[in-house]
């Protein structure tokens, strides 16, 4: 395949172009409207792309640039399997109860500790899993202290999106960017973790100002928390040890995957396979059934939809517009991308957004440096800040609205079922200012680090 040829080939706005564009736009509108489940929309629109011969089935299933990114799919599935195997051991209940006790039953201390725990877990697992594990305990602790759970829930959702930004596996946008741009786990740690730590510090200050004084409880109720024995949470100590061993192995594997020349998905798949083996399960059916298949198929569908519009040239058209706007100035491009990504991710789910932006950024790079290819192109020094801007904007943008990130949707869903409704406006009233604040600080970071200090 001659990529440079493909990228300089002029595109024609023929029937295929308009068909693919229509499928893409209609699908995204229906996804935003939530009239039909997003996974159903994605699968159907993807099948249309193939049925109508915009993509050949071979391209959709087997061509990396146009079809399903199996690196992302297998990384997600493997991490989900590992977590599903870990859960019954009681480790997450242990962490949550232990955190509440560390807070000594003081409402704000607990909120701050939970925010940090959620941020760290979101960075090491993924946000959705983290909030799925922490939200129920948050409601439980609020009941014990007889206080309003909503500040805790909001704080957890927001902290999870901030924390998830720090690592390759923390948030789906990062997983997708890492795969398309061939970035390693350590690249993310080196470039994103420092700013995320700063953002978390500022975030803690803000929640202190917002809720620190309002939260109060009686000493009698604090005793309820202090009397809980977190050790009772551990249901299966043997499985707990095996899980922690495998998790440590996987995380170490992530740290060295660049040096080992192994893809993150390979490391995660190895971890999932090893833990399945160690668990001595005779019923893998159960563990595998608990994988979030709707999310997985949502990704599969989106990759194919985006492959379709990439093949007909819509992505290229969009990247030319972007170049036109920024006149090829990479600093301007980074700034446009970080802010546009933040607001776009607040409106659309950040997963379809990044699925569209990845090929766009690569295409833009091809226009700018037509003679480069492979890693020389993807890791061009001028392009790197654009990738980090995309990651920061898309991940932090998730905080902008109730539907901005899957974690928010989960928190709001659990909260509503438990009888504490968080309205769209209420979420936005907290989420949007936090988003703007974190993105603004990140903008300064990108500018200082990559355009002033150039490190």
């Amino acid at each position: 395949m001659n990529e440079t040829f493909a990228s300089t080939q002029p595109f024609v706005m023929d029937t295929a172009f308009w068909t693919a564009t229509a499928i893409f736009i209609i699908a995204y509108i229906i996804i935003i409207s939530e009239k039909v489940h997003k996974t159903v929309v994605a699968i159907f629109a993807a099948s249309l792309m193939i049925m109508l011969k915009i993509l050949e089935q071979h391209e959709a299933f087997h061509v990396e640039e146009l079809g399903v990114d199996w690196n992302v799919i297998f990384l997600l599935i493997s991490m989900m399997v590992i977590i599903n195997l870990m859960r019954p051991s009681g480790i997450f209940e242990y962490i949550a109860i232990k955190s509440a006790k560390l807070g000594k039953g003081e409402p704000f201390r607990i909120m701050a500790i939970f925010a940090v725990v959620v941020a760290v877990l979101s960075a090491l697992l993924d946000n959705v899993t983290t909030v799925l594990l922490i939200t129920p305990v948050t409601l439980f602790i609020a009941d014990a202290l007889e206080i309003d759970p909503i500040p805790y829930l909001l704080s957890c959702a927001l902290a999870s999106n901030i924390g998830g930004t720090a690592t390759l596996i923390g948030d789906p946008p990062n997983i997708m960017i890492a795969s398309k741009a061939s970035l390693t786990f350590m690249d993310f740690i080196y470039h994103l973790a420092p700013i995320v730590i700063v953002l978390m510090g500022i975030y803690l200050l803000i929640i202190k100002l917002l809720w620190g004084r309002k939260l109060g409880t009686k000493d009698m109720l604090k005793k309820r928390i202090m009397e809980m024995d977190e050790r009772e949470a551990i249901k299966d100590p043997v499985m707990l040890k095996k899980s922690l061993f495998v998790l440590a192995l996987v995380l170490t594997g992530f740290v060295f995957h660049g040096i080992l020349h192994l893809q993150p998905a390979t490391i995660a798949l190895f971890g999932a396979g090893l833990l399945l083996l160690l668990s001595k399960t005779h019923e893998p059916h159960h563990i595998l059934a608990e994988v979030e298949w709707p999310t997985i198929f949502f990704f599969i569908g989106l990759f194919i939809i985006v492959g379709g519009i990439a093949k007909v040239g819509l992505i290229k058209l969009m990247s030319l517009q972007m170049l036109d706007l920024t006149q090829g100035n990479m600093f301007a491009t980074s700034m446009v991308i970080i802010w546009f990504s933040a607001f776009a991710s607040a409106i659309v789910d950040n997963i379809p957004y990044v699925a569209t932006m990845n090929p766009l950024v690569i295409d833009m790079a091809k226009q700018l440096w037509p003679n480069l290819s492979g890693l020389q192109l993807l890791h061009h020094p001028d392009l790197m800040p654009v990738w980090w801007s995309l990651a920061l904007g898309a991940c932090l943008g998730g905080n902008g609205s109730a539907i901005g990130a899957s974690a928010n949707v989960i928190v709001i869903g659990i909260s509503e079922k438990a009888g504490n409704k968080i309205s769209f406006i209420k979420f936005m009233a907290y989420g949007m200012p936090i988003m703007i604040m974190t993105v603004a600080i990140s903008t300064v970071y990108v500018w200082l680090r990559y355009y002033v200090m150039k490190i």
């Binding site: 799925l132 129920p136 305990v137 439980f140 249901k235 438990a418 009888g419």
Partner: protein, 164 residues
């Protein structure tokens, strides 16, 4: 034996606007005058008498059980007084919010085995009995089916049909 022969004719029923407190009281005193008063579930009928749900004592237990506890294993961390506080909090909630909406029913002419079939396959302990116009005319309770079956067991050498 058919459903209508073993059912308890409809006397008490709930409306969607009943408070849980009132509903629980009805569940406690239904079938008064019998040896064991109280029932484990009552049908919920709307203002036109149409069946729209069923409220069981299981639903009352669920009402005080926080939904988030289904998601995590927190049972061993609960505290004394938790149930009582939630019971008071939930007392004024409406039946419509807590009833089970999908109701397994039988027809008045359904043979008893069909009723048992419904009960076991759907894991319900009581079923509303409907007439030809789909109106609830009674409730068939597991307890009454049990009494009926045991009569045949204890008289297994002779037919007891005529005693009925």
């Amino acid at each position: 034996m058919k459903a209508k022969d073993l059912m308890v004719p409809l006397q008490e029923y709930l409306t969607p606007d009943h408070s849980l407190k009132a509903a629980a009281n009805l569940l406690r005193i239904a079938r008064r005058g019998e040896e064991k008063i109280g029932v484990k579930a009552l049908p919920v009928l709307d203002s036109k008498g149409k069946l729209i749900g069923i409220l069981s004592i299981g639903d009352i237990l669920k009402a005080v059980y926080p939904k988030y506890m289904y998601l995590m294993d927190l049972g061993s961390f609960t505290w004394d007084g938790m149930v009582e506080a939630l019971a008071q909090k939930m007392a004024d909630r409406k039946v419509r919010d807590l009833m089970t909406r999908i109701v397994i029913t039988v027809k008045e002419d359904s043979p008893l085995m069909e009723c048992i079939d419904h009960m076991l396959k759907n894991n319900v302990k009581r079923v509303p009995v409907l007439n030809k116009d789909n109106r609830v005319i009674g409730m068939l309770y597991e307890r009454d089916v049990f009494y009926y079956i045991t009569e045949f067991m204890s008289n297994s050498t002779s037919a007891v049909r005529d005693n009925e």
